[in-house]
């Protein structure tokens, strides 16, 4: 598991979100510019050759509608990830709380349990004292084991947040590629002859970006599934009978049975 501080993880998550938003906006801006160029070329084509312009316009219209839908679907998908990542911030804050607010208190108790508070206590002897020594030791071990679980759960949450961040960051490259591809396709629109080719180039770029993003999502989901294994390993201590007999806190005293 990683040991990155939650503050750093939070800053990285916010940065990844901002980068994704920026790239989606870049894509929209570039797509809008493409559409303006497309309409401009179609307009100009009309002055030069109205018949050819009508033919190209008809061919372009059907393809353009389909491309627009694909583009909107793609950007909506990325925005869903961005919106979905906002609650992940609480994953980081809760991880922070486990490690900063709960862990130090519990860890401190392990030492307190094992130490004698009064110097005179070793003067106490006999079987009751021997029993207490053993019970005190078992309590100290159980507290330390609880501290380990708390530390692991806090780190697991931070690690999971990091996997979310890595996923968001993995979306950026396909979006940058898409912005470039739209800009390159727009250069082909200068003439109405190149216009249909430009639309096809754009369609291919959107399809490539969608495929790359789907691929990233699948990989990210595999990593998420892997983290389930990590937490199961980390919490194996809960099933360790030497710390928690039958999965419960070691019982030192049974008052109800005593009376």
């Amino acid at each position: 598991m990683r040991s990155e501080s939650p503050e750093t993880a939070e800053a990285r998550l916010r940065d990844a979100l901002a980068q994704c938003e920026t790239r989606v906006n870049d894509c929209r801006a570039e797509f809008g510019s493409f559409e303006i160029s497309l309409n401009g070329t179609l307009q100009n084509a009309g002055y030069l050759s109205p018949i050819a312009a009508i033919a190209v316009r008809r061919m372009a219209a059907g393809r353009w509608e389909s491309i627009t839908q694909e583009f909107r679907r793609l950007t909506a998908e990325v925005e869903k990830f961005i919106d979905g990542a906002v609650p992940v911030l609480s994953l980081i804050s809760v991880g922070l709380a486990w490690n900063r607010e709960v862990l130090p208190t519990v860890s401190g108790l392990a030492g307190t349990a094992k130490n004698f508070e009064a110097n005179a206590l070793p003067a106490w002897s006999g079987p009751a004292y021997e029993a207490y020594r053993e019970k005190r030791e078992a309590q100290g071990e159980a507290i330390a084991a609880t501290g380990t679980i708390i530390q692991d759960i806090g780190l697991w949450l931070t690690d999971l947040a990091d996997k979310n961040i890595a996923f968001l960051l993995s979306l950026i490259d396909p979006l940058i590629d898409l912005v470039k591809a739209i800009a390159e396709a727009a250069m082909e629109i200068a003439t109405y002859i190149g216009l249909l080719e430009a639309i096809d180039t754009l369609a291919a770029a959107i399809a490539n970006a969608a495929e790359a993003i789907l691929d990233m999502e699948i990989k990210a989901l595999q990593h998420a599934a892997g983290s389930l294994h990590e937490i199961n390993e980390a919490t194996a201590i809960l099933n360790d009978n030497s710390y928690f007999p039958a999965g419960r806190w070691p019982q030192a005293v049974n008052r109800k049975l005593a009376h």
Partner: protein, 115 residues
């Protein structure tokens, strides 16, 4: 056999030790209450809206969270019981090893004289 001063010394030491467990009860109780509030919604776990992933991660967290809360709660109860056991030990302490079996039962409870 220890004299009355030595017996008093041990009894005082047992009371000091008992107070330590009282304080640990309070500390563990406070930490447990803090931990109790560390809940997370399923949507917090994963950015991707693929059904099942967030739910699975959330379910694992909830299980571990519940276990930790239960352990901390049981620990606080146990610490308090230990404080009580030490006070019983102080009350019964007379500096001898007589009535060993009965002492152990009185202090730690029947069937529970091991850690």
């Amino acid at each position: 056999m220890p004299d009355s001063d030595e017996i008093a010394l041990v009894r005082d030491a047992l009371e000091v030790e008992a107070r330590k467990w009282d304080e640990m009860t309070a500390t563990m109780g406070a930490a447990g209450r803090k931990a109790h509030g560390l809940t997370l919604e399923p949507s917090s776990f994963w950015a991707s809206p693929v059904p099942g992933v967030s739910g699975q991660l959330s379910s694992v967290y909830q299980d571990v969270h519940k276990l930790i809360i239960n352990l901390m709660s049981d620990a606080a109860i146990e610490f308090s019981e230990i404080a009580g056991a030490l006070r019983t030990a102080a009350y019964r302490y007379d500096g001898t090893d007589q009535n060993q079996a009965r002492d152990l039962v009185e202090i730690y409870g029947r069937y529970n004289t091991h850690p």
